[in-house]
Symmetry: C2
Subunit: 336 residues, 2 copies
């Protein structure tokens, strides 16, 4: 099955590049609202499932025990840009559990954001594991381990109690098997399990509605949704799509990017979950696809409708600020 | 026509992402050696044709008049990483024509390379137009304008004598029309004309063999090939594929990357030209495709064969240095 073209990039009057992919939009019962391309082939969700991976931190009581704030819970779900507030947040989370950055096993990364990366260099500093875009998630894993009374060391391993708990939450919400034959290693070294888009979409519908899970887990999901909606900067960073969408829409849309062109979302008021992947792994196309879907499904009045529409059709400018093209969704992703 | 998958990205035992595209390999007479996908649809060649765009600088006598070195001629064909030697080279070219960076119309860009970008920030500096990856090409345009006795100002315009000369060289080598209906604006603000891959491949076969053009132009092409082969760092930068391929292969392969997944090459000893574009604009796939084709067509002994093979199958490592996957060409790009 050849996936359809979802997004195209124009230059002048011509289409310069094209991105294919698949999209699944489901409700918590598994009913399909929209399906484009092959939504049953397992794909690695990467960082798009961080909010589900954060559920054990809340439902175990660890977040409460260590007194994590909503901003810190949002950071536990983040692919952050490595800006000072992100680094400070991860540092604070570790300190609350009596730990420090030496416990992080995500690896050292220059800040994902270009401007924060240059700012760090301009300050004469070098990056640490705290600058890794996953440091909030990993600080959450350390908090979870300590809350469970487990030694944090080795928490990135598939059979460490932390990853077992994370896997349990993923299996519960998606209903998809997370078995060794579906295993890959993520950029931050934790397991990533390949799951069909249809299962991911249903999982995010459940996550958004608090359905299809136990009461404790549903309360944890609600806490995470509210925390991220209240602190959308912490889940991404300056200028990033997740931050911009949720700064505007608050709890109406939970969205989360992942590497290699994956994007997941929950639209709680509609009871819908969205999961998409661009075949080629292109982030620009995944972003435009997600902004398009949010605008398509939510009934947005002005000025939100215009703002989301602008995010769904970014203008490409060159080094002189001249408009040279656009990125835009095409039919059937955009309504025909 | 749906272009075939050329390159895939693995994670663990699974294919995580896939890149489609088209490839044309032709000789100077236009005979087709390899054709994959739609090679007749016009595509923007972007920076992949900088060496052809540099022909007027040589054949007009401007390069000789201003005493440009081989390193500077290589820089005139570059999409450079903005490293100090690139900046110094562009500065020197402008000075030889009695000009300075205020003549550059490419716009300001932080160095394309992440490390040079951070190094500039660490030095407390801001980028100028000299750091733009196209500054060498633009310095060449200024040298050409001054050599022609023309006012450089406005040299990025399609009807300035500089761009007319550049367009003439492109039309001559590719045999394809460069008409306003095929016009787009490039990242550095000069015209980019959409041309079929088949025409680009034939153009690079001619460029590599010095065939299908006048004697003066053929001498200019030879000068450019030798200059780039002697100074492959100047045409790209530290760790970049063009630099690594030509440091190893010298005059056996002329290769040049372009934005949005375009790559062109000449293999002079075989009389072949190569042009490819990844549909989605992905650079990683274009690089693997080009390295694969160079290894496939050239008869490389050890250790060159192993070195090019390594460039054609890069290992993906995560922030902890753990191998998580590969990028690799698939059949029919890789021989079946």
């Amino acid at each position: 099955m050849t996936n359809p073209i979802l997004v195209e990039v124009t230059r002048g009057a011509r289409v310069e590049s094209r991105h294919r992919g698949a999209v699944a939009v489901l409700d918590a019962d598994g009913d399909v609202v929209l399906s484009l391309g092959d939504v049953e082939r397992p794909i690695f969700p990467r960082s798009a499932v961080k909010a589900i991976q954060a559920l054990p931190l809340i439902e175990s009581g660890a977040a409460e025990r260590w007194g994590l704030t909503d901003a810190e819970i949002a950071l536990a779900c983040a692919s952050h840009s490595g800006e000072p507030a992100h680094v400070a947040g991860a540092t604070a989370m570790l300190a609350k559990a009596g730990r420090d950055e030496t416990c992080l096993e995500c690896g050292t990364q220059w800040p994902m954001g270009e401007a924060p990366s240059r700012a760090l260099a301009a300050a004469g500093q070098r990056p640490t594991s705290l600058h890794n875009n996953c440091s909030g998630k990993h600080a959450g894993f350390v908090c979870l381990a300590c809350g469970l009374g487990e030694e944090p060391r080795g928490y990135i391993g598939a059979e460490h109690p932390v990853q077992r708990a994370v896997r349990g939450a993923l299996e519960d919400l998606t209903g998809a098997p997370h078995t060794p034959d579906r295993l890959g290693i993520d950029g931050c070294s934790i397991p990533s399990y390949a799951v069909p888009l249809s299962a991911l979409a249903r999982g995010f519908a459940r996550f958004g509605a608090g359905l299809g899970m136990g009461a404790e887990r549903a309360r944890a999901a609600a806490r995470i949704r509210k925390a991220v909606a209240a602190h959308p900067f912490m889940v991404a960073g300056t200028g990033r799509l997740d931050t911009r969408l949720m700064e505007r829409l608050g709890e109406r849309a939970f969205t989360k990017t992942g590497a290699e062109g994956v994007y997941c979302a929950a639209l709680p008021e509609l009871g819908l979950g969205i999961a998409l992947k661009c075949d080629d792994g292109g982030t620009r196309a995944a972003e435009v696809a997600m902004a398009t879907l949010v605008g398509r499904f939510l009934d947005l009045g002005d000025p939100d409708e215009a703002a989301v529409e602008a995010l769904a059709r970014p203008v490409l400018k060159n080094w002189n600020g001249i408009e040279v093209g656009r990125v835009r969704a095409v039919t059937p992703l955009a309504e025909g």
